[in-house]
Symmetry: C2
Subunit: 193 residues, 2 copies
């Protein structure tokens, strides 16, 4: 990855998801890579950081997560709104060249098999904490975040800097039917109050 790809302290990793962005979920198993979109991802714990994500049984990416025991949650941005919608609406089952058609570029970090999607704002490398009842009953997966990175043009010193970055870096917040909202203005409450 490029020079703006910087590690995030694990104790601050929850902040990458705390504002509720829609994420991309990527995984790899037995030589197959895939990426899907998920609005239902959430922080679960601070230290060690954990996350939840809902992965439907119809999703090819879910099989890769189950097969490998790993996934990456990454925070896409306004420049990737079309890509985010497309990876969420096309299945690798139907379109084996899905990623190439959409123009998804993957990268890897030494030591990890799961791929990262280029151009995102932040990435959380997660190891599945096996919870078969949650996975079968609720399609709910729990992961421990073992490494995290962010693009320092939009997240630095442990904080999102949306208000100082190009609007293309804004996070995406999916509603339904191709409609997203981008993240907006900061609102700061005086700590003494």
């Amino acid at each position: 990855m490029h020079s703006h790809f910087q590690p995030v302290d694990l104790t601050k990793a929850y902040r990458l998801l705390n504002h509720g962005p829609t994420v991309l979920v990527s995984a790899s198993h037995a030589g197959v890579d895939n990426v899907m979109a998920a609005a239902w991802a959430c922080a679960l714990d601070f230290d060690p950081p954990k996350v939840t994500v809902v992965l439907d049984k119809s999703a090819r990416t879910r099989q890769l997560v189950e097969g490998s025991g790993w996934f990456v949650l990454q925070v896409p941005n306004a420049a990737q709104a079309r890509l985010t919608h497309q990876v969420g609406n096309q299945s690798l089952f139907d379109q084996p060249d899905k990623l190439a058609r959409i123009g998804v570029e993957l990268a890897r970090v030494a030591g990890f098999e799961a791929p990262l999607v280029n151009g995102c704002s932040a990435w959380l490398m997660c190891r599945v904490i096996d919870e078969p009842h949650n996975q079968q009953t609720y399609d709910l997966f729990i992961g421990e975040v073992v490494a995290a990175w962010a693009d320092d043009r939009v997240f630095r010193d442990g904080h999102w800097a949306y208000e100082h970055a190009d609007p293309d870096w804004r996070s995406l917040h999916y509603v339904a039917g191709g409609h997203f909202y981008a993240i907006g203005e900061p609102l700061v409450i005086d700590q003494g109050e």
Copy 2:
């Protein structure tokens, strides 16, 4: 509640949380009401709609949820940023008059014990699906949404209308240390693409 308080079809209830807002969690048990803030709440299923929310063992509200088996997730707005921060940073354990001090006004809907916070944009009435392992190990609670309502000045016909409403209605997306972002502009992807 007032004339703008309108029911939301349960099949659309997930849309109230899909964009990842910070929520208020309210509950009541044995004559005690409380309200807390939670950034870690998420949709879990469409139909019947389910949600997850993380409730720390130190939270008085958690005891009320465990005691009653019910909670309400509600979506606060920019006009309530200070209230949201304050209910998240004061404990009923320390301040028995917490809600009055902060100015939280509660309302009730016939047939339900759990209270709703006045002035929010949307409300989801949730019955706890008992999952002791998740609750003890991860502080993770699962609820089935049995009723939902929204203020039709900001959510109507199954859709958020932030772009047509006063900025005071924007949802809050908490980061850390009193810093929120408000939801921003709509981004719409052509469905044919």
